[in-house]
C-alpha cells in the first residue's frame, strides 16, 4: 500500500484577516452604514454576512496624517470609514514616499563597477542614502506607517477630496487589481474597516444595491478609461465608448487566489482533475453572445480531447477571448460556436461586451486587414498539442509545457527567466554578469522547476499580478510606471519582509547589509542588523538590458513575457 500523509484540506477561512477581531468589533462593523442596510437573508448559512465580516475584515486605526493607501500601489482590499475623516490626494508629493525615477548609469560608471564593486556581499554606500529626508515613519502599537508631518500645508497646497464616516474607497483597485489611482491619508484620527477582496466580492454578489453602486463607480472611473486604452476600441469616440461601457458587464469567476493551488499538481491525472476546479467562463460549442475581455487574473483555454480537455493556451489581463469567432459570425452572417472553452485559474475578473455592439462599432468600422483571422479548428491547427503529437505542431506549445507553465503559475511573468537545458553548459556567466551589475551580488539562482529542456530559473518574473506589491508599508517595492518593472527603492525599504513573504515563487531575498568596509550595518537603537529586500531588477540602471541574457554565450537564457506565446513557442523549438 502506498504511504500517504493525511492533512485537513485547506479552507478559505483558515487564516482570518484579523484573528483578534471580536464579536463587539463585528457588531460595530455591521452597524456601519454600508453594512447595516444589507439583507442578511440573502446570505446562505455557510456564508453568512457575520462570518464574512469575521474572517475577511479588520479594523485599522490611523492617526492624523497617516498614509492609508498610496497612489500607484497595488492593493487587495477596500476601506470603509468607521469613524473620523480621510482625504483623497490626487497629486504626487515627496512626503508620500514615492521613489525617484531610476536613472541609467553612464558608460563610465558602468565600466567602473568592475573595480568599485564591494568585495564582500551586500555592501552598500549608505552615505548616499537619504531615507528619511522625505519619508516620515512612525510606529506605535500597530505596524510601521508613513505619515504626512504637515497635514495642513498639504491640504492648503493641493487639491484634496474629503471623505467622511460611512464612505467607501479603494474598491476599484481591490476588485480589478489595478494600481491605486490616488493617495488617501487620515484627516483626523480615524478607524477604517479594511475588507479583503474576497469578502467584498461575496457581499457584492448578494446585494443588488451594492453591486449597482460599485458597477456604477467602476463604469464611471475605470471602465471607460480601460476601454479607451484597449487597441480594439482605440478608434471610437467618447460617446460610443460610453455607450459600450454602459452595456458592458463586469463579472468575477473563481473562488481561490491564483496561488492557492500553486505547485500541487504532480501527475498528469491530477492535472486533468485540476480542470474540474477551474470554473467555466465560456464553454466550447456554445454560441457567442459577448466578447470576453480579461480585466484581471488568468484563464485557461481548453479544447475537448476524447474524455478529457487539453490545454490550448492561456489568457491574462487585457487579452480577448472569442473575437475570432465573432469575426467569423459577422462575416458569414451565421451563428458561430466557440472553438474552445475558457476556465478561470484562481480568481478572474472579466468584462463581457455584447456582440451586437462589437459588430456595429468595431467590426463594421475596422479595415478588413486589421481584423483577426477566424480561429482554426482545434482538430486542424491547434495552438498546442499533446506531447505525443508534438511533431505535428508547426507552431504553438506542446500541451505538457503549456500545462507546466500554468500549473506552476509561470504565466504570471512579464520577464520570466527561461533556460534551455539543451544549450546551458553551466558556465555561470549569467550569474557572474548579474553579480557584476549588482555590486557583486547575484540577484537570481540558476535553478528552478524544469520540464524537459525548459527550466524556469528562480529570478523575479516581474509578474503581471504582483502580490509582492501588496502591503509594503512604505511603497518601497513598486511598479515602474514607464517600464512596468517591479523595483525596490532601497532607501525606503524598512526590511519588514512583507514582499518576500508574499512572493509565491520565493524570488525575493532578505539580506543583511554591510558598509563599504565590510562591517554589518545595525540599527542605532536596537543594534539589530538592517535588512533589505533584494531581487532581480532587470538591470534597470544598466545599459543594454538584462546582463544575464546578454552574458549567455550559448543562447540558452532568455527573459520573456509569457504573453508572447508565439515567441515562446519559437524559442522552445529553435
Amino acid at each position: 500500500m502506498v504511504e500517504v500523509t493525511a492533512i485537513s484540506r485547506p479552507r478559505r477561512w483558515d487564516s482570518p484577516f484579523d484573528p483578534a477581531l471580536g464579536d463587539d468589533d463585528i457588531d460595530r462593523i455591521l452597524a456601519a452604514p454600508m453594512f447595516n442596510g444589507l439583507d442578511q437573508s440573502r446570505f446562505p448559512p455557510t456564508l453568512s454576512l457575520r462570518e464574512i465580516i469575521r474572517n475577511d475584515s479588520r479594523i485599522d486605526r490611523y492617526r492624523r496624517g497617516d498614509i492609508i493607501v498610496r497612489n500607484g500601489d497595488y492593493g487587495n482590499s477596500v476601506f470603509v470609514i468607521l469613524s473620523g475623516r480621510v482625504r483623497v490626494l490626487i497629486d504626487e508629493i515627496p512626503e508620500i514616499g514615492r521613489r525617484p525615477a531610476r536613472r541609467r548609469r553612464s558608460p563610465w560608471r558602468l565600466f567602473s563597477q568592475l573595480w568599485t564593486n564591494p568585495p564582500l556581499p551586500e555592501g552598500r554606500a549608505v552615505d548616499a542614502w537619504s531615507p528619511s529626508a522625505a519619508l516620515h515613519l512612525r510606529r506605535e502599537s500597530g505596524p510601521v506607517r508613513a505619515y504626512l508631518p504637515e497635514v495642513e500645508r498639504v491640504i492648503a497646497g493641493h487639491h484634496t477630496i474629503p471623505l467622511a464616516e460611512g464612505e467607501l474607497f479603494g474598491e476599484i483597485a481591490a476588485l480589478s487589481r489595478t494600481p491605486r489611482t490616488a493617495t488617501v491619508f487620515a484627516d483626523s484620527d480615524c478607524e477604517l474597516v479594511e475588507l479583503r477582496w474576497q469578502g467584498l466580492r461575496d457581499i457584492r454578489s448578494r446585494d443588488d444595491h451594492l453591486r449597482a453602486e460599485i458597477d456604477r463607480r467602476h463604469q464611471d472611473r475605470a471602465l471607460r478609461a480601460h476601454l479607451a486604452e484597449t487597441p480594439l476600441f482605440a478608434h471610437l469616440d467618447d460617446d460610443t465608448l460610453a455607450a459600450i461601457a454602459a452595456e458592458t458587464r463586469f463579472e468575477s469567476y473563481g473562488t481561490t487566489d491564483l496561488f492557492s493551488a500553486f505547485d500541487r499538481t504532480d501527475s498528469q491525472a491530477e492535472a486533468g482533475a485540476a480542470l474540474a476546479n477551474e470554473p467555466l467562463i465560456a464553454e466550447e460549442g456554445t454560441y457567442l453572445n459577448d466578447l470576453i475581455m480579461i480585466r484581471a487574473g488568468f484563464a485557461r483555454i481548453t479544447a475537448r480531447l476524447d474524455h478529457g480537455h487539453r490545454t490550448v493556451g492561456y489568457v491574462r489581463q487585457d487579452d480577448l477571448f472569442g473575437l475570432g469567432e465573432l469575426v467569423e459570425q459577422w462575416r458569414s452572417n451565421e451563428p458561430a460556436a466557440l472553438r474552445c472553452s475558457l476556465r478561470a485559474i484562481g480568481y478572474v475578473d472579466i468584462l463581457r461586451v455584447p456582440s451586437p455592439l462589437i459588430e456595429r462599432h468595431v467590426l463594421a468600422r475596422l479595415p478588413a486587414d486589421r481584423l483577426p483571422p477566424p480561429p482554426p479548428h482545434p482538430a486542424s491547427r491547434p495552438a498546442s498539442l499533446p506531447a505525443w503529437q508534438a511533431r505535428d505542431a508547426e507552431a504553438g506549445l506542446e500541451q505538457s509545457l503549456a500545462d507546466f507553465l500554468i500549473d506552476h503559475r509561470v504565466i504570471n511573468g512579464t520577464a520570466t527567466m527561461l533556460i534551455n537545458l539543451n544549450r546551458c553548459v553551466g558556465c555561470d556567466d549569467c550569474v557572474r554578469a548579474c553579480a557584476a551589475a549588482h555590486g557583486n551580488n547575484p540577484r537570481f539562482v540558476r535553478d528552478g522547476p524544469a520540464l524537459g529542456d525548459v527550466m524556469v530559473a528562480n529570478a523575479c518574473m516581474h509578474c503581471i499580478d504582483s502580490v509582492c506589491l501588496i502591503g509594503c508599508p512604505t511603497g518601497a517595492i513598486h511598479r515602474d510606471v514607464a517600464t512596468g518593472r517591479v523595483l525596490i527603492n532601497e532607501a525606503t525599504c524598512i526590511g519588514c519582509g512583507t514582499c518576500a513573504n508574499s512572493c509565491p515563487y520565493d524570488n525575493i531575498r532578505m539580506v543583511e547589509i554591510r558598509d563599504r568596509a565590510g562591517k554589518f550595518i545595525v540599527d542605532r537603537e536596537t543594534n539589530a542588523p538592517i535588512r533589505k529586500a533584494t531581487k532581480c531588477d532587470l538591470c534597470s540602471d544598466q545599459l543594454g538590458g538584462p546582463a544575464c541574457q546578454r552574458a549567455c554565450p550559448h543562447d540558452a537564457l532568455v527573459r520573456i513575457d509569457l504573453r508572447e506565446q508565439d515567441r515562446l513557442a519559437q524559442w522552445v523549438r529553435r
Binding site: 558608460p107 558602468l110 565600466f111 563597477q113 568592475l114 520577464a415 537545458l421 539543451n422 544549450r423 546551458c424 553548459v425 553551466g426 558556465c427 556567466d429 557572474r432 554578469a433 557584476a436 551589475a437 540558476r446 535553478d447 524544469a450 524537459g452 529542456d453 527550466m455 544598466q542 545599459l543 543594454g544 538590458g545 538584462p546 546582463a547 541574457q549 546578454r550 552574458a551 549567455c552 554565450p553 550559448h554 543562447d555 540558452a556 532568455v558 527573459r559 520573456i560 513575457d561 508572447e564 515567441r567 519559437q570 524559442w571 523549438r573 529553435r574
Partner: protein, 278 residues
C-alpha cells in the same frame, strides 16, 4: 526582449555562408598576390595576427559584462566562425609544412593545440549539455559535493542501523568493503563521459545478490541503499560532465594567452629578417 527568434539552423546556414564568402575572398586575394609575385606570407601573417587578436577579444567581452557590447552569444558566434577562418589562414600561411626552428615549432604547436581545444570545447558544449538532460534533475555543480555527502551519510546510517537493530552483518560488511569508497568521492568519470553504465549494473547486481542473506527488514534497507547508489551515480554523472564543461576552458584559455606574445615575437622577427633569404 521582444525580437523574433532565429532558429539555430538558419543562423548556422547564414554564418557558414558568410565564413565561406570571406574564405573565398581570402583565397582570391592570396592567389592574386601570389601571381603578382608578392610575398604572400606577410598577407596571411597579418590576417592570422588579426584573427588571433580578434578571437582573444571575446574573452575581454566576457570580462566586462556590464558594458553594452552586444550579446555574448553574438560574440561567441563570431569567435567560432572567425576561428575556422583563422585556421584556414594558418594553413595558407604555413603551407601545410611542418615548422623549423624552436620559435616556429612553439608557435605552430600552440596554434594547433588552441584550435583543437577550441573545436573539442565547442563539441563538448553542444554534446554534453544535451546529455546532461538525460539523467534527471540537473544539480548545480557547486552543490554536488554537499548532495554527495548527504547521500553518503544516509547510507552509512542505514548500514549502521542494520547492524545495530537486526544484528545482521551482511549490509554493514558490504558497505565497508564496497560502498564506503564509492560514496566517499566522485567515481567512474571516464565511464560517465563515454556513456558506459557497466559499473552501475555491476553494483546493483551485487546489492541484489545480498537479498538472499537478509531478512525482510533488511531488504527494505537494501532497497533504500540501492536507490542511494543510483542517486550517487547520477550525481557522479553530472559532476563528470559538468566538470568537463568547466575544465576544457582551463586548457583553451592559457593556450590563448600564451600564443599572443609568441605570435608578436614571430612577427617582429619576420620583419627583422625580411630581406634575408635562408
Amino acid at each position: 526582449m521582444g525580437a523574433s527568434v532565429t532558429t539555430f539552423l538558419w543562423r548556422r546556414i547564414v554564418h557558414s555562408g558568410i565564413t565561406a564568402t570571406l574564405l573565398v575572398a581570402l583565397l582570391v586575394v592570396h592567389h592574386l598576390n601570389s601571381v603578382s609575385l608578392h610575398d604572400t606570407q606577410f598577407l596571411t601573417g597579418w590576417v592570422l595576427v588579426g584573427g588571433i587578436v580578434g578571437l582573444a577579444c571575446y574573452n575581454l567581452r566576457k570580462k566586462v559584462p556590464v558594458l553594452p557590447l552586444a550579446s555574448a552569444a553574438g560574440w561567441l558566434q563570431v569567435h567560432i566562425y572567425a576561428g575556422w577562418l583563422t585556421v584556414a589562414a594558418f594553413f595558407l600561411h604555413t603551407g601545410l609544412r611542418l615548422p623549423r626552428g624552436p620559435l616556429e615549432v612553439a608557435l605552430w604547436t600552440l596554434f594547433v593545440l588552441i584550435s583543437l581545444s577550441g573545436a573539442v570545447g565547442l563539441t563538448l558544449s553542444r554534446v554534453l549539455a544535451r546529455r546532461l538532460g538525460e539523467h534527471g534533475e540537473r544539480p548545480i555543480f557547486e552543490r554536488i559535493p554537499t548532495l554527495r555527502a548527504d547521500l553518503a551519510r544516509r547510507v552509512e546510517d542505514l548500514a549502521l542501523a542494520s547492524a545495530r537493530d537486526t544484528l545482521s552483518i551482511t549490509i554493514a560488511d558490504y558497505y565497508r568493503s564496497e560502498l564506503h569508497d564509492f560514496f566517499r568521492r566522485p567515481r567512474h568519470r571516464l565511464a560517465h563521459l563515454t556513456g558506459f553504465r557497466r559499473h552501475l549494473r555491476h553494483l546493483l547486481d551485487q546489492i541484489d545478490s545480498l537479498n538472499r542473506y537478509i531478512d525482510d527488514r533488511n531488504r527494505d534497507t537494501l532497497a533504500q541503499i540501492a536507490a542511494c547508489v543510483v542517486a550517487k551515480d547520477n550525481l557522479d554523472y553530472h559532476y563528470a560532465l559538468q566538470g568537463t564543461l568547466k575544465l576544457w576552458l582551463f586548457v583553451h584559455l592559457p593556450l590563448a594567452y600564451s600564443v599572443l606574445p609568441v605570435a608578436a615575437l614571430h612577427a617582429v622577427l619576420a620583419y627583422a629578417f625580411a630581406g634575408i633569404s635562408p
